[in-house]
C-alpha cells in the first residue's frame, strides 16, 4: 500500500510538468507578451517604453525555454509570486478565497449528495413502482435543463417574486449563509438528477448479486436485505465516486462561483483568465492539478480499504 502510494506520487511529477507546459503553451500561444502587457498595465494607452519595462520586469522577454524553466521552478517550490495585474501576493488571495470556496462547495456537495442518495434509496426500495418511475423521469428532466436557466430562473423567483434577500454575493459568518441558499439550490437541482440515477444503478447492481439471493433464500426480511446487505455494499462505489469530487471542494465550483459572484478560488481563476493574468492562472491550474491527482490517489486507496477484493499493486 505504502509503495503504491509512493509510486503514484512519483507519477505525479511528469503529469504536473505536462499540465504546466500545457497552460504555458495555451497562454503564450494566444497572447504575445506585448498584448499581455497592454492588458495588465493600468495606464489607458501605455507607451512603448512602459510595455518594454513591464515585459522585462516580469521576465517575459527571455527565450521561451528559459521562461518555462523559471516557471516550472517556481511552481515546484510552490512559490507563486505576485499577480501580474494587481501585484497582490497570490498566496494571500488563495488564503482569502479558500473559505468562501470551501463553504459553497462543501454545502452544495453535502446537500446534493445527501438528497441524491436518499432519493436513490427510495427509488431502489420501491423499484418498479409508480414512485420509482416518476422519480427517475424527473431526474432525467432536471438533468436536461441547462444550469444557466436554473441560475436565471431562481434568481428571478427569489429576487422578484419571493423578495428573498441576496441573490448574489458573499459574506463571511453564520448570517452570511443566506448568500449560500441560492447557489446551493442551483447545485442541487442541476446535479442531483445525475447522482440519483447513478446511485440507483449501484444499488440495483448489488440486488442482482448472489449473496442477496442467498440472504432472501434463508428468509431474511426484504427490508433487512436492502438496508443491511445491499446498502452496505453499494456504498463502496458511492464513496469512491464521491471522493473524486474532492478537488472541486477546495478549488471551488468554477461555474457556480462566477455565476453568483462569490469571491472564491473558482471565480478568481475565471477572472484571471479573462484578465490575461498568467501568473494567477498558472498558479491556480497547478494547484488544481495537484488536488485532482491527490483526489484520484485517495479514490484508489479508499477503494482498496473498503473493498477487500481490490488489491493495489
Amino acid at each position: 500500500m505504502i509503495r503504491y502510494i509512493i509510486r503514484r506520487l512519483l507519477y505525479m511529477i511528469p503529469t504536473l510538468i505536462g499540465v504546466s507546459l500545457l497552460t504555458f503553451l495555451l497562454f503564450f500561444g494566444i497572447f504575445s507578451p506585448e498584448t499581455v502587457a497592454r492588458r495588465n498595465l493600468s495606464a489607458k494607452t501605455p507607451t512603448q517604453e512602459q510595455i518594454t519595462t513591464w515585459i522585462k520586469e516580469h521576465g517575459y522577454d527571455k527565450p521561451p525555454v528559459e521562461q518555462f524553466k523559471r516557471h516550472m521552478d517556481s511552481l515546484l517550490r510552490m512559490n507563486f509570486g505576485k499577480s501580474d495585474k494587481t501585484k497582490e501576493v497570490i498566496w494571500d488571495r488563495i488564503h482569502e478565497g479558500a473559505l468562501p470556496s470551501f463553504e459553497l462547495a462543501s454545502l452544495s456537495f453535502l446537500v446534493t449528495l445527501g438528497f441524491g442518495l436518499f432519493l436513490a434509496v427510495v427509488a431502489a426500495y420501491l423499484r418498479g413502482s409508480y414512485i420509482d418511475s416518476v422519480t427517475m423521469a424527473l431526474a432525467v428532466v432536471f438533468m436536461s435543463i441547462p444550469i444557466v436557466v436554473y441560475v436565471v430562473g431562481l434568481q428571478f423567483l427569489f429576487g422578484k417574486i419571493l423578495k428573498y434577500g441576496p441573490i448574489a454575493g458573499y459574506e463571511p459568518g453564520i448570517w452570511g449563509l443566506r448568500f449560500m441558499v441560492l447557489p446551493v439550490l442551483v447545485g442541487l437541482v442541476s446535479g442531483a438528477g445525475y447522482y440519483v440515477r447513478l446511485y440507483r444503478t449501484f444499488l440495483l447492481d448489488e440486488t442482482g448479486q448472489d449473496y442477496v439471493r442467498t440472504a432472501r433464500a434463508k428468509g431474511v426480511a426484504e427490508n433487512a436485505v436492502l438496508f443491511k446487505h445491499v446498502l452496505k455494499n453499494a456504498m463502496i462505489p458511492v464513496v469512491t465516486t464521491t471522493v473524486s469530487a474532492i478537488p472541486t471542494l477546495i478549488l471551488g465550483n468554477l461555474v457556480l462561483e462566477s455565476f453568483f459572484g462569490i469571491p472564491g478560488l473558482g471565480s478568481y481563476l475565471v477572472n484571471a483568465i479573462s484578465a490575461q493574468d498568467f501568473a494567477v492562472v498558472r498558479a491556480m491550474v497547478y494547484l488544481g492539478t495537484l488536488l485532482y491527482i491527490f483526489g484520484l490517489i485517495l479514490t484508489d486507496v479508499l477503494y482498496a480499504a473498503l473493498d477487500p477484493r481490490v488489491r493495489l499493486q
Binding site: P14, T15, G18, V19, L22, T23, L26, F27, G29, I30, F31, R127, G128, V140, V141, M143, S144, I145, P146, I147, V148, V149, V151, V152, G153, F156, K160, R200, T201, L204, D205, L251, L254, V255, S258, F259, L269, V270, I273, S274, V281, V285, G288, T289, Y292, I293
Partner: protein
C-alpha cells in the same frame, strides 16, 4: 447559377447521404437489427426518435440555402418559410402591439412566440438555434470521437509504452479545468462556431477515451482476439474489424450523452461571454439575454421560456434515446 447553388449546399447533402448510408448498413447487421426490434417496442424511445428526426428536418431546412439572383444574400429554406419582418421592439406572444416602450407600436405581423429586443420573431430565432445546437454537438463530436477512439484503442490494445503515453495525455488534459481550455482556445482562435467546436472537442475527448481504453483492455485477451491473432490477422485489422464493432454499442450511447451535454454547455459559454456571436441564432444567447429581460416591466419571459423548452426537448429526447439504446443493445445491462 444552379450549379453554384448545388455547390453551396454540398455539406448538408453529404451529411444526409452519410446518414442514409449508415442507416442502411446498420439495418443489415444482426446486432443492430435485433436492437432495433427491441427498440421498436419502447414507445417512449420511438417518441424521442421522432422528436430528433423532426429537429434534424428543421436543421436540414436551415442548411439548404440558395441565392435568388447572383448578388442576393443566400437565404435558407428556413428563412423563406419562417422569417418575418422586424418589429420595433419587444412584443408578447400573440400580441398586437409592442410592449415595454413609452409609445406602443402596432405590429406588422402575427408573432406566435412574440418578438425580442430588436423586434425579431422569437419562433424564428428558436428554429435558428436548432442548427447552431446541432452544429456544436455534431462538429465537437466529429473532433472528439475519432481522437478518443484512436487513442483509446491503441492504448488498450498495445499497452506498455503506448498506454503510458495516452494515459499521461488524458491525465494532463483532464487535470486542466475545462473552462480554462475552452476560454483559452476560443480566445486563441477567435469567437466563432469552429473555434467553439474545436475547444469543446479537445476538452471532451477525455471521458470517451477512458471508456474506449477500458473496454479495449477487456477485449484484448478474449478468445476471439487471440484466435484472430493466431490466424495472422494484422493488428490494424483486429482493431478495426474485430474490437471496434464490439465497442460500438457503448461508444454510441456515450456519444449520444456527449452530444446532449455539449448542447447544454453552449448555454454556459454564452453566459460567460465566449459563446456564439450575437448575430447567430443560438439558444444560449437567448437565455443569456433573458437575464436582463426578466428584470423589466412587463417581464419579458418569452425568450427564456421558449429557448429553454426547445433545448430541454432536444436534450431530454437524446437522454431517453441513450437509455433506450442501452436497454435495446444489451438487455443484460437493463437495471430493472
Amino acid at each position: 447559377m444552379i450549379w453554384q447553388n448545388i455547390q453551396a449546399n454540398l455539406p448538408p447533402i453529404i451529411v444526409v447521404a452519410l446518414f442514409i448510408w449508415v442507416l442502411n448498413r446498420s439495418r443489415r447487421e444482426v446486432l443492430w437489427a435485433e436492437a432495433y426490434r427491441r427498440l421498436r417496442k419502447n414507445k417512449l424511445a420511438i417518441g424521442a426518435i421522432a422528436v430528433i428526426v423532426l429537429y434534424l428536418g428543421l436543421v436540414f431546412l436551415d442548411s439548404v440555402s440558395w441565392q435568388a439572383t447572383k448578388s442576393a444574400e443566400p437565404r435558407s429554406a428556413m428563412d423563406a418559410l419562417f422569417q418575418k419582418p422586424f418589429e420595433n421592439s419587444y412584443s408578447a406572444p400573440l400580441a398586437s402591439v409592442t410592449s415595454g416602450e413609452a409609445v406602443e407600436h402596432k405590429l406588422g405581423a402575427k408573432h406566435i412566440l412574440g418578438t425580442d429586443s430588436v423586434g425579431e420573431d422569437v419562433l424564428y430565432r428558436v428554429l435558428k438555434g436548432m442548427r447552431t445546437s446541432f452544429m456544436i454537438g455534431g462538429l465537437s463530436c466529429a473532433i472528439a470521437v475519432p481522437v478518443a477512439l484512436f487513442l483509446g484503442l491503441i492504448a488498450g490494445y498495445f499497452g506498455k509504452f503506448v498506454d503510458d503515453a495516452v494515459t499521461f495525455l488524458f491525465t494532463v488534459f483532464g487535470s486542466v479545468p475545462d473552462i480554462l481550455l475552452i476560454i483559452a482556445t476560443v480566445m486563441m482562435l477567435g469567437r466563432g462556431l469552429f473555434s467553439i467546436c474545436f475547444a469543446l472537442g479537445i476538452s471532451s475527448w477525455i471521458g470517451l477515451c477512458r471508456l474506449v481504453r477500458g473496454e479495449t483492455l477487456k477485449h484484448r485477451d478474449r478468445e476471439y482476439v487471440r484466435a484472430a491473432k493466431a490466424l495472422g490477422v494484422s493488428d490494424a485489422r483486429i482493431l478495426t474489424k474485430h474490437i471496434l464493432p464490439n465497442l460500438l454499442p457503448s461508444v454510441i450511447i456515450a456519444v449520444t450523452l456527449l452530444f446532449s451535454s455539449l448542447a447544454l454547455y453552449e448555454t454556459i459559454l454564452s453566459y460567460i461571454g465566449v459563446g456564439m456571436g450575437p448575430e447567430a441564432g443560438s439558444w444560449g444567447n437567448m437565455i443569456d439575454s433573458s437575464r436582463d429581460e426578466l428584470t423589466r416591466d412587463p417581464i419579458m419571459w418569452w425568450n427564456l421560456v421558449f429557448a429553454t423548452t426547445a433545448l430541454l426537448v432536444l436534450v431530454l429526447s437524446l437522454n431517453i434515446l441513450a437509455d433506450a439504446l442501452r436497454d435495446a443493445i444489451d438487455p443484460r445491462l437493463r437495471t430493472e
